[in-house]
Symmetry: C2
Subunit: 481 residues, 2 copies
């Protein structure tokens, strides 16, 4: 168990980090202590903003010696409270915002070496200048940092083709809880020298150490891109279309986002300047983005052929191909504004879940009905990454409910337990891409595989025996022995 | 520290496993006790061949209770003695050969669920029947098993496009040292529920548990394939060609194998019915294989264009495109028979090393010279996966040496230390794809990152506190406390 920091420790940290790196000012600290959705509020003894890896080493050595907890924070865009400290105020909050150098971009190596606090969109821009691309993309790209993206093994819209964040990590620099520094930034495509710590740190949610920098794989920019919007009858038809596309166009498909029509209706209602691009309305839509790397490859001709064939096979009901960047932007806007439109409409019990891809269509269809039977009057809104078997599965309160927030707070746990039971019965995961953090911890302990949790606890204890690294996130705080 | 098994344990194992699953017959055991290159010989108290996951669970519970070591073995094709027990004869050798069911192949899921003892080529054939493909390929495909491939995070010729084994593992079933069973075979593309144990087990060399089954990602078979042989001036020219191909043809390139001309001369000398496919001889050659997934994509036309452009840019000196399967087979044979040709020629000090891709050309050129200066008369033969920054870097004894094996045994350590020092100075790894096992353990402890080794030891102790899982492989046996 970690301890409350004493004045001597705080004074030493203040001396180490200087005024830019150390503060206890409540006004300055406030935005760091609250999660971005404003649902969770924590306290911290101080906000530390180290400017170098060596300062992080010094912080962890001091914290470790004093048995004081450290909560690392990147862009503070966690949806599960992964970077919000607990209310006891005993922890030091360590922001990586000043570790924001892009140390190197090497076109020869197709690699970027960046510090943990670099914002995703800044990496996108820096790679672009070298005619290269970092393919991971998420809605919070202007907030999320590289350290946070690795620590949460972030996903997003392009996982289908490029994998989650872990797939792009070639090297890592990390400070362990005892202050020891692992310098492993060499961008090695192959390194079979024992357990891959890069892969262990990816998705560890800051519970095993502080990532200070990483070497990331870049890829060439494509020659051409196509954005398509299709109307389909059902999730099953959408999956048939995806398999058809994969078979006939290989790895050209980067994005395949399934969206229920009622979500598009919410977008039309709440977001100005939006419209359904198809002539008619359909029960489900799919946003597709595909790219080609060769100028000799006529991507549009190929897609037109496949879509014609898919129409004949009744996989799709109507398709629209964006003719320019503006039209492509409008199609993307329909997908990207869904969370905003949902929030404008009211509150819902949200779930970020996965099941095997082939089970997803029947899961959406059957479990939506089952929930509506169990909780009469509710509506299920599903959208997300069908090709990854990952949907955001949101349950909205009955229309007659006036206090939506109250309903979510009162009924939320029962609804979520029902959803998670169905997820487990379908061989799925209760967190597909958001992680466990603090808000999913109880459900992870309840629904998670017991043998796995036991192994996770053993690893946590091995690397962080004092339980000072982001305690209470991902795994419960162990009682003192 | 593990103990010698007592008679009661052996009797209980015999009763559990029956005559097909338990033997102490030295004749039957002999091939399992020797590594496939005949360099290492170990001893074991018994050979166990469980026929089910439940039998593995029972074995591990009994072994764990008795503190007896267990050495898992798949196809016994390790090049680092990873599956050969020590000479003390205290361990139980656990062969996965009877865990050889292909439990399911799901075209809907693009996934195969197979037991650990399934041979790689059997999986290739099974996937092929469903018009699907498992893309990992290595020379020992008729020996190597799925369990071994995961445990060693195997590489091979197609890593450039499809990654190492870890990239294909969607689900895993593993028995931990205490006999607890983790059933995690659900083929989830996304699962952010804590540290990814699939990724920790991949490359753990059987030191954390016994993998009994896995769910593996399959991909569609390509529409077209092209095999090309080119002559180039130098490794730098080869790398320029690779970057050129990646830029203009995207992810079509699956194989890009760099080969020094003297190795091809050895092949011509020792392997019947082989010839240089180009009109002239060149200092270096590259074997390229590329595929396209769409029938609308004229792969040959694209490659002809790129090769013409590359010739103009002096990246290549001559290119030959295989016109049919027979010709393609002949080109592949030149690459695949290199190890056999090398063995026919004599002994060498071999190294499976990696450095960052962009550093590989200068590494090969400079370090070959440096070695020949330091060890006069030696010849360096380099070949391998340039796009992965991984070459097999073999140092042959001076021509006047008659006792080659004696030279390798006497000079080997000094040569390897010199090579590994240069690898570390270039930010590389002393094991790119073969792992550590027992033969590279001393060098890993000498050259490996000390902070990393400390973390690895902590994880090992957390999961296998009695040190009974494949002791002395990957990490040294810890002294009793």
């Amino acid at each position: 168990m970690s301890r409350q920091p004493e004045k001597a420790l705080l004074d030493a940290l203040k001396a180490l980090l200087g005024p830019k790196g150390f503060t206890q000012d409540p006004v300055v600290m406030a935005p760091y202590l609250e999660d971005w959705r404003g649902k969770l509020k924590g306290e911290a003894a101080a906000l530390l903003s180290p400017a170098s890896t060596q300062e992080v080493v010094a912080i962890m050595k001091m914290a470790s010696e004093a048995k004081v907890a450290v909560v690392p924070q990147g862009g503070n865009s966690s949806t599960v409270g992964g970077a919000t400290p607990s209310k006891d105020g005993a922890a030091l909050l360590l922001s990586t915002k000043r570790l924001n150098a892009i140390r190197a971009i090497s076109p020869e190596e197709s690699c970027a070496t960046v510090e943990a606090g670099v914002i995703l969109s800044a990496l996108h821009e820096a790679a672009d200048k070298h005619n290269l691309r970092f393919p991971l993309n998420i809605a919070s790209k202007d907030m999320a940092t590289i350290g946070g993206l690795i620590s949460t093994n972030a996903g997003g819209s392009h996982v289908l083709r490029f994998g989650q964040m872990r797939a792009s990590v070639l090297g890592i620099e990390v400070v362990f809880p005892d202050g020891s520094l692992l310098e492993n930034l060499r961008p090695l495509r192959k390194d079979n020298q024992g357990y891959d710590l890069r892969q262990l740190l990816a998705g560890a949610e800051g519970s095993l150490g502080v990532i200070t920098a990483a070497s990331l794989r870049l890829i060439p920019k494509p020659h051409s891109k196509i954005v398509i919007w299709v109307g389909v009858e059902s999730p099953s038809a959408a999956l048939a279309l995806l398999r058809h596309l994969e078979k006939e166009s290989g790895e050209t498909v980067e994005v395949f986002e399934l969206i229920e029509s009622s979500l598009i209706e919410l977008v039309l209602k709440h977001i100005p300047d939006t419209e359904i691009p198809t002539e008619k309305a359909y029960p489900w839509y799919v946003l597709i983005e595909a790219t080609a790397f060769s100028e000799d490859f006529d991507l549009e001709a190929l897609m037109v052929n496949i879509l014609a064939d898919a129409t004949e096979k009744k996989e799709i009901l109507e398709a629209v191909i964006a003719q320019n960047e503006t039209q492509a932007g409008k199609l993307w806007r329909l997908r990207e504004t869904i969370p905003l439109a949902e929030r404008s409409e009211g509150f819902a019990v949200k779930h970020d879940i996965s099941v095997p891809v082939s089970a997803m269509p029947s899961f959406i269809e059957q479990e939506s009905r089952a929930i509506q039977e169990k909780f009469p009057g509710t509506t299920v809104l599903a959208f997300g990454h069908l090709g990854d078997g990952n949907v955001h599965f949101n349950v909205c309160p009955p229309k007659e409910v006036t206090d939506q927030l109250g309903w979510v707070e009162n009924e939320g746990i029962a609804v979520s337990h029902f959803v998670y039971e169905r997820v487990m019965a379908n061989g799925g995961a209760i967190s597909a891409e958001h992680g466990i953090g603090q808000t999913k911890l109880a459900d992870f302990m309840r629904f998670g595989n017991k043998t796995k949790i036991q192994a996770l606890k053993a690893i946590k204890k091995a690397i962080d025996p004092q339980s000072i690294m982001n305690p209470g996130k991902l795994l419960p705080v162990e009682q003192a022995e």
